[in-house]
Symmetry: C2
Subunit: 199 residues, 2 copies
């Protein structure tokens, strides 16, 4: 019995991840009651962003320019390339580490059942780039899931074919974690790959 | 180091209730990666809705027409008026009960400290409407909070001045609740207003 336009708005808001009927309702009413200005701004930015944001020609990250800020920066180490599954992974590495090299965003992981193969991840472009000889190390930072590991193995092969050194993020017990709560696979791996205590 | 437009989008999404930095990031990436069509639709509907949706002339509910569907319906009981604080409350009553009368949406509650008085809640219009003599009962369904109760008392006075019978939703133990977990105030009230068991 609500106004049809209001129902359309509630339905449209459900496109957002994690937003169901109730949350969408709350959002719609909040926007109408208190945030008309912010809501209009959101509508404008959203329309422009979805129209203009594409992929960086080099690293496949989201950007509205042809080449993203990181790829265009002269101050980044041009010999290191870090492959991640998604832009959020790149963001996490950028915020947590002091890494100053370049990135390659796969925008997914190998998953033959879903029709995602090397072509969909842009691996032909990656291979060409490795063949140019400027990259010396490919840091493989795909997620430690079954598909992420498979993708990592594929990337390592690709790197070796072009004489680029592949490396993988260390697996093990997380800092600040308690052994009691670490899953068996991780604990077993950490035990097997233990290293000598530094003096 | 993200694309500025992407950052603008993430910032703009934070206008939604319950959406912080992390959620806004996830929403932006999800829209860009998988939901461009849905996102564009959302931008359009949002812009149109915020421009066109105003308040119903009679009940103050949100609607894009001058009079909302419920107020315009000839099949609703024109003698009953139910006052609620917000459109979601109206929706809840509409979905849960068989009520077929009309509504009046206060769009808030009396709160002198926040500068919300009778005028802000449209109570002059409500008073005029009650004076017309068609309404016989004012069902007061404000929330059972301190401010909601104060508003209810004010509304009851208003109704009596116009010889309209004011009524209030029953308070008590919720169905399916356990006494052990019911708050003291509610339990004490339910005990005091106990009624004879029907035969």
């Amino acid at each position: 019995m609500s106004a049809p336009l209001l129902e359309q708005l509630i339905e449209a808001l459900r496109v957002l991840p994690g937003v169901g009927q109730k949350t969408a309702q709350r959002m719609a009413y909040q926007l109408l009651e208190r945030e008309r200005q912010g809501g209009k701004h959101l509508a404008e930015v959203l329309a422009v962003a979805l129209d203009s944001i594409g992929h960086c020609r080099h690293c496949r990250d989201f950007t509205e320019t042809e080449v993203c800020a990181i790829c265009a920066s002269a101050s980044r180490d041009q010999h290191l390339l870090c492959a991640v599954e998604s832009p959020v992974d790149r963001l996490a590495i950028e915020q947590a580490t002091g890494y100053r090299g370049l990135y390659f965003i796969l925008q997914g992981r190998l998953s033959p059942l879903d029709g995602i193969g090397p072509r969909e991840l842009g691996l032909d472009a990656l291979s060409e780039r490795l063949a140019q000889g400027e990259i010396t190390e490919l840091i493989i930072a795909t997620n430690p899931t079954v598909e992420g590991e498979a993708t990592a193995h594929y990337l390592a092969q690709l790197a070796r074919q072009q004489s680029v050194h592949p490396s993988r993020l260390a697996h093990g017990v997380p800092l600040g974690g308690e052994l009691e709560y670490v899953d068996r696979g991780t604990l077993s791996h950490a035990f097997g790959t233990r290293s000598e205590m530094p003096k």
